[in-house]
Amino acid sequence: MWQKLCFMTLAEESPGAGAALAERPTATAEAEDDSFAEEVYSLPGGEGVRWCIQCGICSASCPNVARMEYSPRRTIAMIRAGRRNDVLNSNSPWICASCYLCTVRCPRGVKPTELMHALERLSTRYGTHSRRVSTPAMYRAFVNSIKNNGRVHEVGLMMEYYRKTNPISALRMSSVGLGLLRHGRLSLKASKIKGVGQINAMLKKAESLGGAK
């Protein structure tokens, strides 16, 4: 209970945080999971969670905190409290734009941007990421483009992304797409590099070494 109060009263962050609170059915129901904090500490990018002093400069610096279910500071507090499902189901890591403002300002060297990436990888591995975000689908389309071509083919990426998420929403982008096309900024054909085979051989090996689970 004290944790619940702590999370709520320390809501330094954003007008949006209150609205998001209502959408969290599991936010306060979860039991502590002692292994979760240890698991995060052991990840590249998760080490700094141990050093956090909860000053909140990360949340105060974050341009996207209003759209996050849990602010960066709160996310760190929840990791330490063992709230595995709440953290891994939250939209927060997927809303991080990797602007690194928190990272350069953190007085303890926590590297919250790296932490967000580590949490994205963890929820990708467990398949727990929030259904309320479309970022994972975009990331998958991005990675697929690299696997297929060696480079990112922007048109192909967008087409895969909209096919997998909401094809109707692509309509909203049509004016931007046409504008870019008219100015010769969209390449319709993907160019493939010679080393696609090399890349896939590396990635296959990486998978056998436990890379992508």
């Binding site: 590249p44 341009p63 996207n64 759209r67 890591p93 997927w94 809303i95 734009a97 990797s98 602007c99 690194y100 990272t103 350069v104 300002r105 590297k111 941007t113 990436h117 994205e120 990888r121 990708t124 975000v133 479309s134 970022t135 975009m138 990331y139 991005f142 990675v143 690299i146 060696g150 480079r151 990112v152 922007e154 967008m158 992304y161 998420t165 909203r172 982008m173 004016s175 931007v176 504008g179 870019l180 100015h183 010769g184 900024r185 390449s187 590099i193 080393g195 090399q198 890349i199 051989a201 590396m202 990635l203 296959k204 090996k205 990486a206 998978e207 070494l209 436990g210 890379g211 992508a212």
Partner: protein, 300 residues
């Protein structure tokens, strides 16, 4: 002539920021740089890869590093994301011995090896430190006198780490603007985020960020924005119309790459600098500098 390995990155080579690549090719020789494109380079992996699969993303970045190492030159990239991601990969390979060992095995599958010896630099930083803005200014044909510019750093030029500018209060891009004779306007949002690739999955969130950037640039009286990042340019330029519709504003702010701004001052033609690729036209804002060139008979 200083020689570098050149890593254009996906968007500047033939994608949405093709004008960046084109204008860099146009100015390189004139400012004393020879850029040798890394042969058969692949995507750096960017944030989407390192956010889903650490080892896979390091492999993808390491292939480029391994190819570049053979050339024994500094590698420069004009893309802030490529710059940050490849330096992140280098740091991870240094700091995590277990990942380094695994990546080494993966590289072996591709017949490659990487010893950690490539310096990856942002093209802007290489021009700042190796060429010098003074040298460029000395070659100016058409100083950009009276042009009010908002110098937009975005994020990943000076963050998370920078060995040439202050991550909390960068100045280098303003130095370029003033060296070229233009005026760098006060611009509070100059190192804030444009949303990057989140523009695809989080469009409304990103439009909000862009709106703040335009608001700040306009408050300082800027007529144009100059950037060092392909994503920043695309977001600010291609989505400007959408920002105007959403926030009922009427921004009409051309967004130039720093290479284009240098080229204009050097008197290079709009075509060579791919200025016509901007969705928000830059013609009107830059017209007087071109007529000055025509009057003196200079220019390319």
């Amino acid at each position: 002539m200083k020689v570098y390995t050149y890593f254009p990155g996906c968007s500047s080579s033939e994608g949405t920021a093709v004008a960046y690549g084109e204008s860099i090719k146009a100015i390189a020789g004139a400012i004393g740089m020879e850029l040798v494109e890394l042969e058969d380079w692949n995507c750096c992996g960017s944030t989407p890869y390192s956010s889903t699969d650490e080892l896979g993303s390091l492999c993808v970045a390491a292939r480029n590093l391994a190819l570049a190492e053979k050339a024994e030159r500094d590698m420069v990239t004009p893309c802030s994301a490529c710059f940050t991601v490849m330096n992140r990969a280098k740091a991870h390979l240094r700091e995590y011995p277990d990942l380094r060992a695994k990546v080494k095995e993966c590289l072996k599958e591709a017949g490659l090896e990487y010893g950690g010896g490539v310096r990856v630099r942002h093209l802007f930083e290489a021009i700042y430190n190796d060429i010098g803005f003074g040298t460029i200014a000395a070659k100016m044909v058409s100083p950009l006198k009276g042009l009010k510019v908002a110098a937009y750093y975005g994020c990943q030029l000076v963050r998370p780490e920078s060995d040439f500018d202050d991550p909390n209060n960068p100045k280098s891009l303003e130095f370029l603007v003033t060296s070229l004779g233009a005026e760098a306007v006060p611009f509070a949002m100059r190192d804030r985020c444009c949303g990057g690739s989140l523009v695809i999955p989080e469009l409304d969130l990103t439009l909000g960020l862009l709106h703040k950037v335009f608001e700040s640039a306009a408050a300082g009286g800027a007529r144009a924005i100059v950037t060092v990042c392909p994503l920043c340019q695309t977001n600010l330029d291609a989505y400007q119309d959408m920002v105007n519709k959403k926030f009922k504003t009427s921004y009409n702010m051309p967004v130039l790459f720093f290479s284009q701004l240098i080229g204009v001052a050097l008197g290079m033609s709009p075509k060579a600098l791919a200025l016509d690729r901007g969705l928000v036209p830059a013609k009107k804002v830059l017209a007087s500098y071109y007529s000055a060139v025509a009057a003196t008979g200079g220019g390319a």
